[in-house]
Amino acid sequence: MRFTFDGVSYDAVSGDTLAAALLRNGVRIVARGPYTGRPRGIVDLGAGEPHAFVQVESGGAGEGEPMVRATTLEVYDGLAARSLAGKGRLVDAPIEARYDKTWTHVDVLVVGAGQAGLLAALEAAQTGARVILADADPVRSDFIDDLREFPEVRVLGRTTVTGAYEHGFYVAVERRASSSQRLWHIRAGRVVLATGALERPILFPDNDRPGIMLAAAAAGYVTRFGVRVGNRAVVFGCHDGALASALTLLEAGIDLAAVVDARPSVNGPLVASLRSSGVPVLLGAVVTGTSADADGILSAVHIGSEVLECDLLAVSGGWNPNLHLYSQAGGRTVWSDEASAFVASSTVDGMTVVDPPRRQHGTPPMTLWCVEGDPARIFVDPHRDATLADLRAAVDGGMRSPEHVKRFTTIGTGADQGRTSGVTSLGALADALGRPVGELGVTTYRPPVTPISFALLAGRDRGPLLDPARRTPMHEWHESRGAVWENVGQWKRPWYYPRDGEDMHQAVLRECAAAREGVAMMDVTTLGKIDLQGPDTGAFLDRIYTNKFSSLAVGHCRYGVMCRADGMVFDDGVTARLAEERYHMTTTTGNAAAVLDWLDEWLQTEWPDLRVHTTSVTDQWAAVAVVGPQSREVMRALVPDLDVSAEAFPFMTVREADVDGMPARIFRISFTGELSYEINVPSYYGLALWEAVYRAGEPLGITPYGTETMHVLRAEKGFIVVGQDTDGTVTPHDAGLGWAVSKVKRFVGERSFRRADTARPDRKQLVGLYPRDPSTVVAEGAQLVVDPDAPIPVPMLGHVTSSYTSAVLGRSFALGLLHGGLAHTGETVFAVSDGRADPVVVTDPVFYDKEGARRDG
């Protein structure tokens, strides 16, 4: 396999990580300090790597992915990577790599496929349990042959369990082959943590040079990859594990210049083996510094005045049990002098933590965090270029808590999350404070254990798959006529239908004029619709709406307002009584699900005695509004058997009829103030209905219109849109809907109207606004102020909620919420937005047809 690193081509062996392949090819410098620019080499074998984060530039797994650990990235033929200095570069192109998500349930999740993990998985499998065994490294197949006979066992190699959440919920990242990643969501009955331990370094001056590695990592490159990581080495440690690593290096034929052990006396077979092989073992000694060659690569190790030439310094300060997931799940840790580590000290429900094996053969470990020396050259967190001098500055500044020191020094905040530096930096802090490390306690680990790319979290939920799109049955017709779309909740609604050369402004003026002067049609399928049935439906609606519905005659409609208990407007719409015990409610398009939930909540939790059934029928009905003074002519052509005259089919009534062979409900309601009919048919007929209306209206030049025109027309009439002209702080009275609030029956929210706050005269209330300049359309959301030049903070009196140009008024106009509302009629205030202050005159919010003369045609 061939790969390139910093533009140079190299060979790799199958199974190599990028780090192994670089070491195999003698590449020592793989990164630079982000602030110091100091050369840095590979330190670790796996996810603890603090230096070797690379930018992947080739196709495949992390196509164009920044900040990928060279120690966990498997080389594939054609891999191209570049070294970094602490920061990656975001790639501007869309990612082609595949990112998937999956969900599963298991009886037992085993994290870590070492000996303990394999055994735990096997024992669980033998009971018939469904098991996932996950390991961050590839799981070697010869180890798992025994597991293969169990169909309910799944072995996930290259899979990092990154988060432990409530009730046995775990998230894991699986890196598959060279082309994709998969995010696992696992609900586990039990979890076995067999995640072993993480080796920690010892701090000393110039401890960051390329050639200085963790001892077990150096040994691991030898045994796992057959890579000779140096020719002549010094091993520095304070526990038997370092001696074991020294022996491994020795057996691989690496010349050991010395083994330096800080413990004053050491017994046992390891030290005996080293000495019998002729390796100088210096006891009670420490590494006090290092030298580098012209490239900055390690050339010698200083032990006091003694200088030993070498190209590898293998360091080990001890082992930290890997308790990230345990800590995330709420487990606590305590310092153990015996283990020289923070160990688990509590239990977590459903979690078994396997103690990592103690690599201890003779003399107990010594706790050594840091060797004295120039603190500015001792790198506590090399990933952040943070030194012991920085840490001491924090302590001198009065900081005591590890959390404060972490934020001040940035130690442990890098992409490596302080995996290698964390506990050691805590030890250095304890030294600086003169306190035992156990008193400081470790910071709480939070997910993720290793970084997850946003691309993986997004998965396929991007572009058109981000959110389901709801389309009406007439969608294709709108599309074929060049409709521009507006997203309303999940619905795709035609915004306007531009004709050749028209911009939005021109199209909307034309559509508005058609609705006011001729005839126009709109797809109103998206309106929320709820079917309510049962003998108590009228009484129920009386309690939910501010106005009365039990008195509504069958075949009639009424506009209703509903409030939350706090008395603020929650939704509005027209509800019709179809039969004695059956009502058809309509809701705001974006609020349909919330209204149904609201109704169900009251029926189930407060008034279970009421016999009412609710059913969402939004998707069951398609609807077309036929609007304008000529709409009656269209209806006559379309439904010749129905008398559509104002007398026979009056405003606010509903009729059932056969429309061109389709069973229809026709509502004589109006959201524009014009004569209009809203025809509902079962959704299946939606397109046929639309086409039938269009055919019937064609001789009159019927004009399809979209949501923008709808908004202009309703605003001209002062009809509010809940959520646009209201915001959860607006009572019906504030919105000019006091006429719809009953004084003779009880309803939800009523009591709140008597609160002192809702009775204030200076509440923000709905007003109309005329810009002084009739060609200026003020910005929606613009603040209303009396004096735009007043000293800051300028008193805010309200804001603009809707603002348009009106064809019929021949000028711009707006709606807004203003302190004191219509008491300011005739006054001028300023609409301030983006550095502009436009004078606007306060006026009645009904701009057109105040007397309501147009609704009957």
């Binding site: 959440y165 046995g168 919920f169 169900d600 407060e606 009880r746 009523e750 609160r755």
Partner: protein, 80 residues
Amino acid sequence: MLSIPCPHCGDRDETEFHYGGQAGVAYPADPMTLTDEQWAEYVFMRDNPKGWFAERWFHTAGCRRWFDLERHTVTYEIRR
């Protein structure tokens, strides 16, 4: 991601539910007879204990039934 035991559907992920706040806060029999303070207590004020908390959940994306359970606000343990 809580695993919530719906009495009708069994254990389901939290994302299927809507949270309904504190349980046992009844709508007053006659709100109009309450003082502003009493009404405000019903509308705005809820307990916020550290420990066991009786609360309401609505299985929005399932059986669409409301039910009560007790949840420990520190450990997230759930009991019914």
